[in-house]
């Protein structure tokens, strides 16, 4: 395995809702440190794509491969990393990946947090799930991560129910990053927040992602979000990827008629 091997490789991925395709024939590779934005309007298939990547929706066609080492079975001992088809992994292995390698930042914090567990407990949980058994260390690490996402430490024992929308999202980000994942999925993490709060969260995500060298797939309907934090962009329409490439090229020199329409609809700020 070398740097040329992507972290995530998607080929011909499709998901059907009955007769209709929600998302069809999507292919892309993602490398460590890359942020990929998936843009499009509601119904374009971007959420279906994310659902498939996160294994919440069935992969009806195509395959999704992830760079990891086999944990069980033949040749598991000291196995080198290779691109493994997710459909060949056991549930235990997939859940291990969710615990150790992957994160998911939900649009609605209540879907990604335990709303009645303290912020510290929420951020500490992935550590405990991975076998940390020293309270002092768990607390110190949770505190450090809350500090990094700019939650005052005197709020760490408060439950997210007592937090503003922006704070909840930041706790969610901390919870997702505390164990050092390699790949994070984000589903409209900033929509539903006030503009100033949005900017703060985006800036935070952007700097953490570059500091940690994370690979990110972020779904957004907001081209400004895509421009601010992504390196590459996929534009989706009617379930298909109709344009893809460097984010600034997609936005500054769009080729597809639909992308030109999307870009021309942005409010200039």
């Amino acid at each position: 395995m070398n740097d040329e091997t992507p972290l995530l490789s998607v080929t011909g991925a499709s998901h059907r809702y009955g007769e209709r395709y929600g998302c069809r024939d999507v292919s892309f590779d993602l490398w460590p440190g890359e942020v990929l934005a998936v843009v499009g309007e509601s119904g374009s298939g971007k959420s279906t794509l994310l659902g498939m990547l996160a294994q919440r929706l069935a992969l009806d066609e195509g395959r999704i491969r992830y760079r990891t080492a086999r944990q069980h079975g033949a040749g598991a001992d000291g196995a080198a990393e290779e691109l493994l088809d997710l459909s060949t992994l056991s549930e235990r292995e997939v859940r291990r990946l969710w615990r150790t390698d992957w994160g998911f930042v939900h649009q609605n914090a209540a879907d990604g947090l335990r709303m009645h567990v303290s912020a510290g407990g929420n951020v500490g949980e992935p550590l405990m799930a991975n076998g940390w058994r020293h309270f002092g260390q768990i607390r110190a690490e949770a505190e450090e991560w809350l500090r990094r996402v700019e939650i005052p430490t005197d709020r760490m024992d408060d439950a997210p129910t007592l937090f503003s929308g922006g704070m909840r999202q930041r706790v969610q980000v901390a919870r997702n990053l505390v164990f050092g994942p390699r790949l994070v999925f984000m589903d409209e993490p900033t929509s539903g927040l006030d503009v100033s709060v949005q900017a703060r969260l985006l800036d935070l995500i952007r700097s953490l992602v570059s500091e940690l060298g994370l690979a990110v797939v972020i779904v957004t309907h907001d081209l400004a979000v895509a421009r601010l934090i992504s390196h590459r962009t996929l534009v989706m329409k009617d379930g298909f990827v109709i344009e893809s490439g460097l984010t600034d090229r997609v936005l500054d020199d769009p080729q597809a008629a639909y992308t030109q329409l999307l870009v021309s609809s942005i409010l200039q700020g």
């Binding site: 985006l202 800036d203 490439g245 460097l246 500054d252 080729q255």
Partner: protein
């Protein structure tokens, strides 16, 4: 366009633009086709400053953006000397373009597109951080440049969005010069600067040229252009609709 020659660059050349065509198709205006460049060809030698000339609207910025990768090219080759080999930016994969931006090509655009909330010091330091330089040394280098460009120290901790046009431009310049990349693109970097700061920019450009950086630039100020230009490429001579005028 056929690739009859291998992708090779002479030793002393950092960038070679060969036979590049560019047409914009405006789908929202009845798919109107707008040819901008035809057969665009020029080289940027290492340590030389190539200035793009031509009237406003001739396509100078389009050339810049194609070299930086934010515009695509329809045909032709844009060869860049990148980390010991040659990269054709026309066909390069996005992540190759990103790697080239990180290591080889710097871009000082006309306007600063900064992230909200990030202090000026970090905006300037960012290209170094992206290459893995530690924060303290990156900030130190950024401070030197900001000081040299007369940005008052009280502004360093503030996000540049609130700065004046001239201040923003100097932040942008500092960011472009934070480390010496083999190729630097300058898109009217001195447009809103006073004479004193224009002088600083001229010095920065000369220092970089002296260290072997190749530059591709658009200057509106004649004095800056005269001070640093080694070669001028007339973009208008590659503008399809005016072919006959300059034939």
């Amino acid at each position: 366009m056929t690739h009859n020659a291998p992708n090779a660059l002479p030793d002393n050349t950092i960038l070679s633009v060969q036979n590049v065509d560019k047409t914009f198709t405006l789908h929202l205006q009845d798919a109107q086709r707008l040819p901008v460049l035809h057969g665009m060809t020029f080289d940027v030698p290492r340590g030389a400053c190539v200035v793009l000339g031509g009237e406003s609207g001739a396509g100078k910025s389009t050339v810049m953006k194609m070299v930086f990768g934010s515009y695509g090219a329809d045909s032709g080759r844009i060869l860049l000397g990148h980390q010991g080999s040659v990269l054709d930016l026309v066909t390069a994969a996005p992540r190759q373009v990103l790697a080239a931006r990180r290591e080889t090509v710097g871009y000082v655009s006309q306007f600063l597109r900064a992230v909200p909330r990030v202090p000026a010091l970090d905006v300037v330091a960012e290209p170094l951080l992206a290459r893995g330089v530690d924060r303290a040394s990156a900030r130190e280098r950024a401070s030197e440049l900001l000081a040299r460009l007369s940005i008052p120290e009280r502004l360093w901790k503030l996000p540049p969005a609130t700065f004046s046009g001239g201040e923003q431009q100097r932040v942008n310049i500092a960011r472009g010069f934070i480390f010496e990349r083999p190729l630097l693109l300058l898109d009217e970097p001195t447009a809103s600067l006073d004479a004193r700061n224009r002088g600083v920019v001229i010095d920065l450009i000369r220092e970089s040229l002296g260290h072997g950086t190749g530059m591709l630039a658009i200057f509106h100020d004649a004095d800056v252009r005269e001070a640093v230009a080694d070669l001028t490429v007339d973009v208008q001579s590659f503008t399809p609709v005016r072919d006959e005028v300059f034939a």
